[in-house]
Structure formats: structure tokens, C-alpha cells
């Protein structure tokens, strides 16, 4: 775990964390210690900030990340069914990573594509107007890929 490529100059804690997150997709625990030394900010504060914002994760995510939107527009268009499909058909729980480390599923409140509700994001790519078929296809592709 390296700080390589992370810009510390005149940066607030959050932007440093954002950079780390962009690099690793989570904030590794040992980095919190190093960060605390480097920025002269107490560990408890760093931990407090990380847990305050939903954008920061403390656990290593899977190779692929799916974020299911449960914002209002998606909720009205039955986004909960999408999480159900993942659970019932593939045994993936929201907020968890599959045992083989392949996939993590998270929920988010609105990714700004409400007109295409219900939507989810696979590794940063938006997939809109979801149907059961589409969800199944995306998931199968994820599991087939290695």
C-alpha cells in the first residue's frame, strides 16, 4: 500500500481520502495509521470522517462493484426488486462481497440518471431501464469474466 501518486499539497483530509479511494476502492486500515502520522491528524478523527461519508469504504471490495440506485425515482420504479433478484438468484447480499471476491453490491441514493430509473452502475458504467432480464445478463457476464 503506497501513497504513490497521491497529492498532499494544500489538500484537505477529504480530498486525500478521495484520492486514496479512487486508487484502491477502499481505505486500507494501515493507511489510516500512516495518514495520521503524515497529516498530523488524530486517528479517531480520520476514522470519524471516513465513517461519516457514504463514499468511503473500509473493506476491500470485490473485483467488480455494482451500485444499485435506491433514490426516489428508482424506488418508485421498484428498485428493491433488483436487490431481491441479486439475493434470490445469485445469493448476493447488499453491502457484501461474494466469497470469491468477484463482486460487491452496494446501494446508493441517486446516481443522477433518474429518467432511466431503475438504474445501477457496474464499475462506473451506468445501466438504465433495468428489467429482470438485463440484471441477469449483467450478473452473468460478471461471473463469467475472470
Amino acid at each position: 500500500m503506497e501513497f504513490e501518486g497521491i497529492n498532499f499539497k494544500d489538500q484537505s483530509l477529504i480530498s486525500v481520502l478521495n484520492q486514496i479511494h479512487a486508487k484502491y476502492n477502499y481505505i486500507p486500515e494501515e493507511m489510516m495509521f500512516d495518514l495520521s502520522d503524515r497529516l498530523k491528524i488524530s486517528l479517531s478523527k480520520i476514522y470519524g470522517v471516513i465513517t461519516f461519508y457514504t463514499g468511503f469504504k473500509l473493506e476491500k471490495p470485490g473485483k467488480h462493484i455494482i451500485r444499485v440506485c435506491t433514490g426516489t425515482a428508482c424506488y418508485v420504479n421498484h428498485s428493491e426488486v433488483i436487490l431481491e433478484i441479486m439475493r434470490d438468484e445469485f445469493g448476493i447480499e447488499e453491502g457484501k462481497t461474494t466469497e470469491d471476491g468477484k463482486l460487491s453490491v452496494d446501494r446508493v441514493a441517486c446516481i443522477g440518471a433518474c429518467a432511466l430509473a431503475p438504474v445501477m452502475e457496474l464499475d462506473g458504467q451506468m445501466v438504465g431501464k433495468l428489467t429482470k432480464k438485463k440484471v441477469m445478463r449483467v450478473l452473468r457476464e460478471v461471473f463469467e469474466d475472470d
Binding site: 484537505s12 483530509l13 477529504i14 480530498s15 481520502l17 478521495n18 470519524g48 470522517v49 461519516f52 461519508y53 457514504t54 463514499g55 468511503f56 435506491t70 433514490g71 426516489t72 425515482a73 428508482c74 424506488y75 418508485v76 420504479n77 421498484h78 426488486v81 434470490d88 446508493v108 441514493a109 441517486c110 446516481i111 443522477g112 440518471a113 433518474c114 429518467a115 432511466l116 430509473a117 438504474v119 462506473g124 458504467q125 451506468m126 445501466v127 438504465g128 431501464k129 429482470k132
Partner: protein
């Protein structure tokens, strides 16, 4: 030369805009890009010499190239209702697009296209008049904060300008709070320069040399385009030192948020910018007096800044003329839910909700109108007979909702109003920063009470308690998030009380709350396709075959709703 412009907003990209663009290029046609048109539900979209083509498939491109581009005949079967001019399509016709003036029409990554639309012309003129005159124009225009609160922008600026300090800040609030709205994203992706230009003008007016854009990290494309816009503006001398050869110097920085609804609140945002947890602070002092690093700080929403650059270009009188006597200018809504045409719209203040939903939005998709919710988690739910309410800050507050930042979600009779209210309360429980007790504990208890209602464990007293608690939170919470959190409950209690009472008697007519309804197949509508049976996970819960008829055995049914969602003819009905 034919101009082909393809929407490269987030929505259209996800619907396959890149493939369409590539196909045009393969066929030797040069394409230009644009930001979001607002009608993302029809993506991918291409505008060919002003003609609107939506829902495009790759194979359609060839036809457009052959017939339209080469032979000058628009491809009728690909048009929307035979409309050739996109301004004539009902969705666009009733709109007045000031803030969205360039969205969908120009390439957001090309500063020259913005300049060709009179971009930065307003800035040139602004820098020749006195800062106090700029504030005067904004004040007279009647512009009010479009982030939700509706505070007069001119007044806010005046307060900021009167502070004696050599360092001041102006900030763009692009932390779209409302979970079901995407206007800030669309503007930043579609026309970033309009916001940047407004911000520079604001800096000049109040005497700030540093601007900040606080944007959600969930919006990578927006961030990329703002970065590019800032660099380009610098290169052309609209930003940096001695802007347009005047003494005025101004820089802009981007700050990425990390996902917290409460950071839309000004003081919380300031905390977040300095790297803290985003908890709101007691006001006064207001940020305009003592904000970021204790310096005077003016924070306005994306839409407000974009409106500023419009006003300074066209004059305050033009802006003042639009709207009604109470509210001037336009309002932007992200119209979504069970409506035919979802998208981003801009209408003059004072237009009625009915016009917005039925004329622009095309009415309901299939179900029956039940309610429209505005203002997100801080807003209220509005019933059918109130749809003649004009949009505006006061008029909407009067009926128990708010303008908010522009979320407008339409629901039909397949949504349960209590479940809907609970959705918003759950959101607030998640997003409460935890600083003040009324919000932290109160919303949690509200959620519990609502849970009792939808699981059939409530009685009359529960409703009373619900109401009392809502008022208590409203009166005692620290910041705007907390004081408005009970609105979804209060407004539904007011307009949909019968539905609450029905739940007390174990009835959910929408067919959402488990154990409060049964379903059956409407045999008149059913065409025996058998899709419901195949979708049903319970062995034997749907009997019959394609030759006879299908029947739901309610004793075996687990109310999972798989059949209702699967049925292509919507013939599975809720009965009590």
C-alpha cells in the same frame, strides 16, 4: 453542411450514444456532441439539423444518413409523432429554457461553442460596471436561491459585499441533495461555462478572488467537464489574473464531496470543504458574514449561478418579466416517476403542476395518478385536486410542500402512500448527521411508527403520536434537514388520511404492504400467456395452463409480487 449532434450526457451514454456516434462516423459523417437535452428517457438522441431523433438504434443511423443527410428528407418513421422541429415537441414547447439555454445545443467541452452563443459576453460587460451595480441588477431581477430556500440572491450578495475583509469566497453548491433529481449534474455536464461565468461575476460583485465548486464525487463526468472548462477559460483570459485586461483576478478550485446529503446545507458544506465531518453549525453568523475560514462566503446553487450569467447578459428586466408577481424567472424540475416522459425541464415560475405533469410530461405512463412529490425528503406530497397550484416558493409552501431543489416525482396507484413516506424518513434516518437529538432520534422513531402502520400493528393513537412527534422535530431540530424531515409524513397525513386509516384496518389498496391485500387475475384482460406462472417462485401458487385459464391460489401466495411485475398486460389486480 448538415450538423449532427449527439447527446453525450450520462443518460444517453448509458443508452448507447457512443455506438450511435461511431456508426455515423463509420458512414463518413462528422458528429458533434452535446450535454443532456433533458429527455433522457428517449436516449440515445441525435439532433440532425434541428430534427429530433430519439430511441435510436445503430441500424437507424444508416437510414438517417441515406434519407435525411444525403437526400434532405427526415426519416418519418424515426421521428417523434412526425415532429420535425424539436422545439415543437410538446415536451419542449411549453418550456422556457434560460438556465438550460445551451444544454443539448452546444458541445460542453468546446469553449468556442459557448462563446458563439454569446458566452462570456456578459462577463465583459459586467467588468465595466461597478460591483454595486452588478448586485443591483441581480436584486432587481428578483432572482432567488434555486437550491431550495428561495432566499433573495441580491440580498445575500449585498450582505457579503458589505463585509470588510480582504479575503472572501464564492462557492457553487453542486451537492445535489435530493435523491431523485439530476439537474445539477445535467447543467454541469451540459453547460459548465454558464456556471463558471456566473461565479466569476459573483466574485467580482462581492469582492472575492477565490471561487470553489463543491461537487459530488458520484458525478465523474461532471467533474471532468468542469475541470476542462476551467482550464479553457483560463487560457482565454476569463479566469486568472487581470481578467480581460482589468484589475480583477479570480481563481476557481474544485472540491469533491464524499457522499452526505447534509452537506447541501451551507454550514455543513463549509465543514466538509475544510476536511471535517459535515455537521451543520448554529446560525447566525451566516456564511455571508463568517463562512469558510471565517471569511465572508457566498454559496449559491448551480442553477442560481447559471441564472446569474443569463441575467447579466440579457438584463434584469428580461428575467423579471418571466414568472408571476411573487416569483420571477424560471424553475427547473427533474420530472420522474410513473410519468410518460421523464426528464429535466425548465418552466416559468407560476406554471401549474397540472401543466407540467400532463402537458410536458405527457401524463401517466399506465397507472392512475396518485400524487406528485416535490422537494425530495424535505418536501411534501400533493394530491390530484391541488394540481392547479402554480409553482413558486410561497405557493408550494402553502400546500405543505416546498419548491426544493427541483425533484418532482409522480407516483401512481401502485405506490402505497405510507410506504412512500417511510422511504423518505428512512433516507433521513440514514443521512441525519447525528448532531442534534430531534433529528437523530426523532426520525428514527418516526420510521418505527410508520413501520407499525405498514405491518398492521398500529391504532388511532399511533397516528396521533406520529403527528405530535413530527411537529416536535419540526420545531426543535438544528438545521434545515431536520426541520423539514417530517414534511413527507405531515403532508401525507393531511391529504391521504383515509389511506392511513385503511391500514389501521389491515387494508393496503395499492398492494404493497404485506398481509394487507390479495391479488387475482383479471380473466377479461388475461391472454393466457403463462408468464406469471413461470415467474412465480412458489410451487403451485399459480395453477392452470395455457389452454384453460390461470388462477392464483392465495393460500400459497407469498406476496412476492413476481407475477405482477412479470405480467405484460397488467392483469393481476389487487383486491381486498
Amino acid at each position: 453542411m448538415t450538423e449532427v449532434r449527439i447527446c453525450k450526457g450520462t443518460g444517453c451514454i448509458s443508452s448507447g450514444a457512443e455506438k450511435i456516434a461511431n456508426e455515423f462516423e463509420n458512414l463518413g459523417i462528422e458528429v458533434k456532441q452535446s450535454g443532456c437535452h433533458g429527455l433522457c428517457s428517449k436516449g440515445p438522441i441525435a439532433i440532425v439539423d434541428g430534427v429530433f431523433y430519439g430511441d435510436l438504434k445503430v441500424k437507424d443511423v444508416k437510414l438517417i444518413v441515406e434519407d435525411h443527410i444525403k437526400n434532405g428528407k427526415p426519416v418519418d418513421k424515426l421521428l417523434w409523432d412526425h415532429y420535425t422541429k424539436f422545439e415543437e415537441i410538446p415536451f419542449y414547447k411549453k418550456q422556457t429554457r434560460l438556465i438550460l439555454r445551451n444544454c443539448g445545443l452546444i458541445d460542453p467541452e468546446n469553449i468556442d461553442e459557448y462563446i458563439n452563443k454569446d458566452g462570456y459576453k456578459g462577463l465583459r460587460e459586467t467588468l465595466t460596471i461597478k460591483p454595486s451595480d452588478v448586485i443591483d441588477s441581480i436584486t432587481r431581477s428578483g432572482l432567488r436561491g434555486l437550491g431550495g430556500a428561495g432566499f433573495p440572491t441580491g440580498l445575500k450578495w449585498k450582505i457579503g459585499s458589505e463585509q470588510k475583509s480582504n479575503i472572501k469566497y464564492v462557492i457553487v453548491n453542486a451537492d445535489e441533495g435530493d435523491p431523485g433529481a439530476f439537474m445539477d449534474r445535467a447543467i454541469l455536464e451540459g453547460d459548465p461555462h454558464s456556471v463558471i461565468e456566473g461565479l466569476i461575476m459573483g466574485g467580482y460583485a462581492i469582492g472575492a478572488t477565490q471561487g470553489l465548486i463543491y461537487v459530488r464525487q458520484e458525478y465523474p463526468l461532471a467533474i471532468k467537464r468542469i475541470k476542462k472548462a476551467i482550464d479553457d477559460a483560463k487560457e482565454r483570459g476569463f479566469l486568472g489574473s487581470n481578467i480581460l485586461d482589468t484589475d480583477f483576478c479570480f481563481e476557481i478550485e474544485i472540491h469533491e464531496g464524499a457522499g452526505a446529503f447534509v452537506c447541501g446545507e451551507e454550514t455543513a458544506m463549509i465543514q466538509s470543504i475544510t476536511g471535517e465531518r459535515g455537521t451543520p453549525q448554529l446560525k447566525p453568523p451566516y456564511p455571508a458574514v463568517k463562512g469558510l475560514s471565517s471569511k465572508p462566503t457566498i454559496i449559491n446553487n448551480v442553477k442560481t449561478w447559471s441564472a446569474v450569467s443569463w441575467i447579466m447578459l440579457h438584463g434584469w428586466e428580461e428575467f423579471f418579466k418571466i414568472g408571476n408577481e411573487n416569483c420571477h424567472g424560471t424553475a427547473i424540475f427533474s420530472l420522474t416517476g410513473k410519468i410518460k416522459y421523464s426528464g429535466l425541464i425548465e418552466v416559468p415560475m407560476g406554471m401549474t403542476l397540472r401543466e407540467i405533469i400532463f402537458d410536458i410530461g405527457g401524463g401517466m405512463e399506465k397507472g392512475k395518478f396518485k400524487a406528485v412529490q416535490t422537494g425530495g425528503p424535505s418536501g411534501g406530497t400533493i394530491p390530484f385536486d391541488m394540481l392547479d397550484t402554480p409553482v413558486g416558493f410561497e405557493s408550494m409552501a402553502k400546500i405543505g410542500s416546498i419548491m426544493g431543489s427541483g425533484g418532482m416525482v409522480v407516483i401512481d396507484d401502485s405506490s402505497c402512500i405510507i410506504d412512500f413516506a417511510k422511504f423518505f424518513i428512512d433516507f433521513c434516518v440514514d443521512e441525519s448527521c447525528g448532531k442534534c437529538i430531534p433529528c437523530r432520534e426523532g426520525t428514527f422513531q418516526l420510521a418505527k411508527l410508520l413501520d407499525q402502520i405498514i405491518t398492521g400493528k398500529a391504532n388511532e393513537d399511533t397516528l396521533k403520536l406520529l403527528e405530535e412527534l413530527s411537529f416536535a422535530i419540526k420545531n426543535t431540530a438544528l438545521c434545515g434537514l431536520g426541520t423539514t424531515a417530517p414534511n413527507p409524513v405531515l403532508s401525507t397525513l393531511k391529504y391521504y388520511r383515509t389511506e392511513y386509516i385503511e391500514h389501521l384496518h389491515g387494508i393496503c389498496k395499492a398492494g404493497v404492504c404485506k398481509g394487507m391485500y390479495t391479488i387475482q387475475i383479471n380473466q377479461d384482460l388475461c391472454n393466457q400467456c403463462g408468464i406469471c406462472q413461470r415467474g412465480c417462485p412458489e410451487e403451485g401458487a399459480i395453477t392452470g395452463d395455457r389452454k384453460t385459464s390461470f388462477l392464483i391460489i392465495n393460500d400459497l401466495c407469498t406476496e412476492c409480487n413476481a407475477c405482477r411485475l412479470a405480467c405484460p398486460k397488467q392483469c393481476i389486480e389487487v383486491v381486498q
